[in-house]
Symmetry: C2
Subunit: 316 residues, 2 copies
């Protein structure tokens, strides 16, 4: 272990020690182990990807009324999950509660208002315009879960997210190069350390409020060096300023030694992304001539290919 990763490990230990304990830790762990065991024992040994999705919250009070949040609909993670399942992967979907779910992208905002009708008190009918969307949300999603190809695990706070990610990474250690991390979640960079946090609701009425936030320890380094050093690892970089995007993605690639960074800009992220890696930058676009096409179709295709090469090279 290098001295750098040792240092980051220490930083993490103190972060975790001061975090509120993860509820249902045993339950999560048992679901996780069952899922990994099932998929590792499949013929040929399954590839398993952990897709993280949605933003993490940072509580500002211990009995939390206020928190800082990161904007993320979870669309990227949900769509990518479907693509990974279609490509034969087993997916651990670590998602922010309330964000977009796999197979549910085509549902309207208010599905119970718009998708259904009751022609009489006994029978429910799906409106023709939404029948494909509902079928996908129910049939395809239930099938993926029933067949053990999809495990959904929800989080809300940065504390839950990092503790669950560590559990998953540790549980996937034996899967080695066949495991992958696809870290699409929008993780907070700043937080209020739990121990220095006020217990009760911050009172208004006494003028402006100044909040001082500490940096969240960089999880990527420790994930790469300690938690799951053999896994294929993809991180994301979102910026609103296109001028600094590629530069920041390239820096992240070098600093955290991930296998690729998916660079995306807030306004154009549904049209194109840039995959930044040591073999150069590749622009990935959605197929413009197919209105159903999404950028994740081509993105996951590219990453699955890269993962195949990585697995082959690891075995030689």
């Amino acid at each position: 272990m290098s001295s750098i990763s040792g240092m980051e490990d220490d930083e993490f230990s103190s972060f975790f020690e001061s975090s509120p304990t993860l509820k249902n830790k045993e339950e999560i762990l048992s679901k996780l182990n069952r899922f990994i065991e099932l998929n590792s024992s499949r013929q040929g040994g399954k590839r398993i990807v952990c897709v993280t999705s949605g933003g993490t919250t940072v509580p500002l009070e211990q009995r939390c009324v206020r928190y800082i949040d990161n904007f993320s609909s979870g669309n990227r993670g949900a769509a990518s999950t479907e693509n990974f399942v279609n490509a034969g992967y087993a997916v651990i979907f670590l998602y922010r509660r309330g964000t977009c779910q796999p197979y549910c992208r085509s549902l309207p905002d208010d599905p119970f208002l718009e998708c259904f009708e009751f022609p009489d008190a006994k029978n429910i009918r799906v409106h023709a315009s939404h029948s494909e969307a509902v079928k996908m949300a129910v049939m395809d999603q239930q099938a993926a879960i029933a067949e053990g190809r999809l495990l959904k695990l929800p989080f809300s706070t940065i504390y839950e997210y990092l503790q669950m990610l560590r559990l998953i990474a540790t549980a996937l250690k034996d899967v080695g190069p066949c495991s992958m991390f696809y870290l699409a979640a929008a993780v907070s960079d700043f937080y209020v350390p739990w121990t220095s946090m006020t217990e009760h609701k911050i009172q208004s009425g006494s003028g402006p409020l100044d909040i001082s936030l500490a940096q969240v320890p960089k999880m990527l380094s420790v994930l790469r060096s300690n938690w799951a050093p053999k896994a294929f690892c993809i991180s994301f970089k979102l910026e609103t300023d296109s001028k600094i995007l590629i530069e920041k993605a390239t820096k992240a690639l070098q600093k955290y030694k991930v296998h690729a960074v998916v660079a995306n800009e807030l306004l154009t992220r549904k049209e194109e992304v840039v995959v930044v890696s040591n073999s150069g930058n590749v622009v990935v676009r959605r197929d413009c001539d197919n209105p159903e096409s999404i950028v994740e179709d081509n993105l996951i295709h590219l990453l699955v290919d890269r993962h195949s090469t990585y697995i082959k090279e690891s075995h030689t």
Copy 2:
């Protein structure tokens, strides 16, 4: 107009002037006016309540990646809306996008996974255990909307919330004492003024972050004194510390001259609330001997009675 409300009006004018403009303002206004017209022309003249629900977000960046949020599931507002509709009110439900919807309280967290099955590719079936919940979400909700008893208007930011509330209050002015505001939304006390906000994503990597937040101008005063002075007005006070709750609710009652303040504590808010008003404090509990009972059943019952008295007194 007193000098105090004049002052607050100024504060509000500058808040609104520096806010990003409300999208779809014309569309919202036309929906609103149609809804109010329909209900005012019903026999006897309808009572109309504006129920606000969920938390407001406070963007930290103009192209918003990070924001401060207030914890609120929207359960209180959604359940209260159903009770108001049952009591014969027309309800304008001003809610935070993604929070709990009226008639949807009994649905599970992941309804498309848990409520339905497709026995074949053509027919959808509701699991018996969720049939009542789905029927309520679809039939009852659609009926309330189709009959013009429920209008749903979504918001996300504090800017949208306050601008929409002003639109609603102004549109309801002619309904006079028959209108009611039931302000259950968790509105931010602090915000970053739009004009002093950074355009792009705040960069991490340069040490801790200090945020300075200004106080949101108190909307309650101006709602009471200018926007809708004749409406019956109920505000909410949520605290995590029971010791200061009633004191703070009483202060709010006096300061904003609302007709009642519903005081609730974070941990016990589903079991009991205290209605604080000039006629004394009343503890309202849910019926413990009925597991289906919720605290909103008794709360709305009490407030509808109070509203009736208020209307009678206004006419004499």
